[in-house]
């Protein structure tokens, strides 16, 4: 079993380099003087401008008419990621609880209505969705950004699967003790679902943060720009100038990646568990 381990390591190191090199190059180059980048291309080693570049990008508006900077776009992305994750978890837990723990007429109809949404990504119905949101007057608002994205039952499906793995005896015991449905949910189901909620929260936060197509259609008002979509406008502004401030562009890219990457690294265990267990 020991033999050839070094070959395995070589392959893994090549794989790891393939993953890291792009991010490293962008980071190292962001700390250089823009003229170095223009004359010599991307840099492999970090330069000395780290603090000045990042504070400037954080506070200064680049390529926008109003006062939009990395800080305000990151706040918008946070609202988007958190709103999407929290909204989705609340709505889908309620629906999954109703589907699994209640006897009601048309149960299978409700089930199919909800789960057919898994089949069609937003991209397929994007233009009509846009019109619905426009006619409801929700363009340029966070509810318009978030609600249509929640209209897919992924999390409901995960929670339904999870609730079904919880032993039925718990409910029987609760009913013997005269605990009503709300009591059962709050005292028994919610504590049992903690890990599952954390895992889905992490995945959904990343999904919400990384949205691109929907925000570029929905927002004409710059103050609602999220960082993932806002970079593009900054970029086109930067590339049109004669002395492109590549350092600013690179720093923005780092800002756009950093929060979701940190979340994934810090909560790696939960995140992997969530991904893998929801496959079933």
């Amino acid at each position: 079993m020991k033999k050839n381990q070094w070959l395995d390591h070589v392959i893994l190191i090549i794989g790891a380099l393939f993953m890291i090199i792009p991010i490293w190059l962008i980071f190292a180059s962001s700390t250089h003087n823009p003229n170095t980048i223009i004359s010599d291309g991307l840099q492999w080693l970090p330069g000395g401008n780290f603090t000045s570049v990042y504070t400037e990008v954080w506070n200064k508006s680049i390529g926008f008419s109003s006062d939009v900077n990395a800080k305000s776009m990151i706040i918008n992305s946070m609202i988007m990621g958190l709103g999407f994750a929290i909204g989705k978890i609340i709505i889908s837990m309620m629906a999954a609880y109703a589907l699994v723990y209640f006897r009601m007429p048309f149960a299978s109809l409700w089930f199919w209505l909800i789960f057919v949404t898994l089949l069609l990504p937003l991209e397929v119905r994007i233009i009509p969705s846009y019109e619905v949101v426009a006619s409801l007057g929700m363009l340029n608002s966070f509810s318009g950004l978030i609600l249509p994205l929640i209209a897919s039952a992924t999390a409901t499906f995960f929670f339904r699967q999870f609730f079904r793995t919880i032993p039925n005896e718990l409910l029987e015991a609760a009913q013997l003790d005269n605990a009503g449905p709300i009591r059962f949910f709050l005292d028994i189901l919610l504590p049992l679902s903690k890990t599952m909620i954390a895992a889905i929260f992490i995945i959904m936060f990343v999904v919400g943060w990384n949205q691109y197509l929907w925000p570029i259609m929905m927002t004409t008002d710059e103050s609602y720009n999220t960082i993932v979509m806002g970079i593009k406008q900054t970029l086109s502004d930067i590339s049109q100038s004669s002395q492109p401030r590549y350092d600013h562009a690179f720093a923005l890219v780092i800002f756009a990646m950093l929060p979701p990457i940190l979340v994934i690294i810090i909560f790696q265990r939960w995140f992997i568990k969530g991904l893998v267990e929801t496959e079933k």
Binding site: M1, N4, Q5, L12, G15, F18, M19, P22, I23, L25, S29, I38, G41, L42, I91, S92, M94, A95, A98, L99, Y101, F102, W110, I114, P121, E123, V124, I126, I127, P128, S129, V132, L147, I150, A151, T156, R164, N168, E172, I182, V206, W209, N210, Y212, L213, M217, V228, M229, I231, K232, A249, M257, P260, I261, I264, I265, Q268, L275, V276, E279
Partner: protein, 293 residues
Amino acid sequence: MEQRQQYTHSALPYFLLVPQIAIIAIFFFYPAAEAVYLSFMLEDPWGQSSLFVGLENYTILFNSTEYLKSVVFTLGFALVVSFLSLSIALLLAVKANNILHGKGAYKITLTWVYAVAPAVAGIMGGFMFNPHIGVFTEIFASLGWDFSLYTDPFDATFVLVLVSVWKQVSVNFIYFLAGLQSISYAVNEAAMLDCESDRRRFWTITFPLLAPTGFFLLVINLTYAFFETFGVIDTLTSGGPGGGTTSLVYKIYRDGFIGTDLGGSAAQSVVLLVLVLALTWVQFKFVEKRVHY
């Protein structure tokens, strides 16, 4: 299926279901129906009047060389991206499962790219292969490849594939590694005794056991290549050069949102819808089969 103990309550379950049902009715069923309806209509660009034209939008669509080119590009792109990201991830997962030391470090470095948005990945790719500052353009030039992201359709597709694969390897890696770790120790032990060659052991024991995971991932990867690569395409090539990298989703967006050809765009949505349904049907077929063994 066992009959679960359930509450009987008249109002509460509906109260719990209402938010979900309301949201999917407004933001899912209505727009989906609207897409089907619009695909049979011809609307003037200002949305003032519309005319029922039957299948005309579809006829125009299937006679358009531009659309067929986009179909061919999307299918080819999806297959190449899925194949490459699945095989690279499988190789890395097998190696990571094999080694004794440093597992954790590899696992972290190979999974964190999951968090990078496709659009951001596209922007980074654009810098790497930029004609002026891109290091890889330089490296290719020194190898005699006159690389040009913005004028050569092949080079543009190459970068799109590379960036899309880069972004997707981590998800596949996570699933494959979990799949490998769930293969029981006893099975591995027995295989080890029976079969000396690593390679044969992999193809006869490990690979078939991973097949269900692999198939599930294939569907995930195709869906990713169809839909989520919008961000990569928009930031890297904007569908160019010469429309050579326009995927189906990108075309729906461009025709409907920028070109305001609502009927044509809706017809494209419906075609895509049929494609996704077919893919799901295949998946269900497979899931049924999986139950049998």
